[in-house]
């Protein structure tokens, strides 16, 4: 358990319709995602007394408004965030609210509409810190991800295969996941032949933008026994932040705040990195996935390339990573999928993708300026 407080469990996970052009509004996506998680857990409206949501500012619907939308008229606690590490912003807020006793059953939501390859508006002036990026043609996420990938390759002597092998392994999982959007198997050659966005970052290093809302329901250990799924316990968590709030200026691109978040998470549990059997590691860009393998101590610093190449993260490996296919293949559910698939694995319901006897799993989101990770277990 993460510090003092009540033991927290996850009892429901679910997604809205996820796709490129769903035609659904944000509120329709939220309603679908919430309903899916509630149905998964057998959770009724009357059970829920807290809502946490995380969204980009342009997609933000306040948590109290989500409560009204979903027929939850008297919440004890709400939290809306537009900052931080993807779904785990809402997920950790929800877990902390349950642990503290502020709420008993919290619905955590992460809605978004598909974002294309957006850039600065032509003719607009670049304000704030953006004025030190956009005039140079910099400042897009794929570009800082390309910078991080290059730094990892140069510092550790890796080839692009380091990242390609992980993306091939994830597509293999996706091929076994009926909910994945990209399911055709790929080879390392296929990966090496896709176009560059910001060299060395390739299109296949990037997640797949979609309309989506993922949802996860957190409650106490005691209440978890009332719901229909085998509970998955939340053992520990932490956020991480950095001395620089821009990804391009990260002081050490191969040892970012992800390492601090992981250290804080491990400090609050008797479990160790060697106990982890399955992982959901953010793959908005593939360098982030490999960074988390090292940050969490699943392998040593600079060793993620070998760790992947040895098959540890693939089907049948010691610590399969992104067993749903990851956001590169199931679509940008933005961190919810990394929690949801670990939950399914710890329940033992991942079918062909199941890591045998998985009892301990970890989910982690983002890199550099803001990060978070959450350790989970099953009995």
């Amino acid at each position: 358990m993460s510090g003092a407080g009540r033991r927290v469990a996850i009892v429901g996970v679910g997604y809205s319709t996820v796709g490129r052009d769903t035609g659904l509004s944000l509120k329709q996506l939220i309603a679908q995602g919430a309903a899916a998680a509630m149905a998964d857990g057998g959770v009724e409206q009357a059970d829920i007394d807290g809502v946490a949501m995380h969204a980009f500012p342009q997609h933000f619907v306040p948590a109290y408004e989500c409560g009204a939308l979903l027929g939850l008229p008297s919440l004890k606690w709400t939290s809306g965030s537009i900052e931080g590490p993807a779904f785990l912003s809402a997920g950790i807020h929800a877990a902390a609210a349950v642990a503290s006793g502020t709420a008993d059953v919290v619905l955590a939501l992460r809605p978004m509409l598909r974002l294309g390859a957006t850039g600065p508006t032509p003719g607009a002036r670049a304000a704030g810190g953006r004025q030190f990026l956009e005039p140079f043609g910099a400042g897009r996420p794929a570009q800082w991800a390309g910078m991080i990938k290059q730094r990892m390759m140069s510092e550790f002597g890796w080839g692009e295969e380091a990242f390609g092998r992980q993306m091939v392994a994830q597509r293999e999982f996706a091929a076994m996941n009926p909910d994945a959007l990209l399911r055709n198997r790929i080879t390392l050659d296929d990966y090496m032949n896709t176009r560059y966005v910001a060299k060395p970052l390739r299109l296949l290093d990037c997640d797949y933008p979609v309309d989506s809302c993922g949802a996860v329901i957190f409650t106490t250990e005691e209440r978890a026994r009332d719901f229909k799924q085998k509970p998955v316990f939340v053992e520990s968590w932490s956020f991480g932040t950095s001395g620089e709030s821009d990804f391009e200026l990260a002081e050490d691109m191969t040892r970012t705040s992800s390492f601090d978040a992981a250290a804080a998470m491990w400090a609050r549990t008797s479990l160790t990195p060697q106990d982890v059997q399955v992982a959901g590691l953010y793959d908005g860009f593939s360098p982030i996935t490999l960074n988390w393998m090292e940050a969490l101590g699943l392998c040593g610093r600079g060793e993620a390339s070998d760790f992947v190449a040895e098959g540890n993260t693939s089907l049948g490996g010691r610590v399969p990573v992104n067993c749903d296919g990851g956001a590169t293949n199931v679509g940008r559910v933005h961190g919810v999928n990394h929690v949801a698939e670990v939950v399914r694995q710890l329940r033992g319901t991942s079918g062909d993708r199941q890591r045998p006897d998985a009892k301990v799993g970890v989910a982690a989101n983002s890199i550099a300026a803001f990060t978070a990770c959450m350790l989970m277990s099953a009995e």
């Binding site: 957006t118 002036r125 704030g128 810190g129 005039p135 290059q150 060299k199």
Partner: protein, 149 residues
């Protein structure tokens, strides 16, 4: 936006906090805030020193020399101005005055095949408008060639 005009490079929205920087670049001087107490430079411009929370930071001129910490080759444009300039090289420069003092810029006078981590670079000025001059970088010691605006 009219169709007959060429796309214009994104320009900075200069504010009270950043004016010293752009005043400096217009004179072809690279200035950054320097905290006299902590003896440290800071970039971007900010209201207080993150070391000691002092607001007493004065702009100091830097040499404009450094090394490439990392880079990326932009192969896709996210703004119409850059569409005709692909591919171009974006660098994060480790400035020589202080470990970890970084500046994000474009590396010019250097083909994408020539750039490498650790490469010595130096500032070169691109006067974009009467108001705005950008500090770009080029391989150190190379003969200065005119930069195309």
């Amino acid at each position: 936006m009219t169709t007959e005009t060429a796309p214009v490079r994104p320009l900075p929205l200069i504010d009270d906090e950043t004016r010293f920087f752009w005043d400096g670049t217009r004179e072809h001087r690279l200035l950054m805030q320097y905290c006299a107490d902590c003896k440290r430079y800071h970039h971007y411009p900010r209201p207080v020193c993150p070391g000691c929370l002092s607001s007493d930071m004065a702009p100091e001129e830097l040499s404009g020399r450094g090394r490439v910490y990392t880079y990326t080759i932009a192969e896709q444009a996210f703004h119409p101005f850059f569409a005709d300039r692909l591919p171009y090289v974006l660098v994060v420069v480790d400035l020589e005055e202080q470990p970890g003092l970084r500046f994000v810029s474009e590396l010019v006078q250097c083909s994408p095949e020539e750039v490498s981590v650790g490469m010595p670079v130096e500032v070169v000025w691109e006067d974009v408008t009467e108001e705005v001059t950008l500090p770009l970088f080029k391989p150190a010691g190379s003969a200065d060639r005119a930069v195309q605006a």
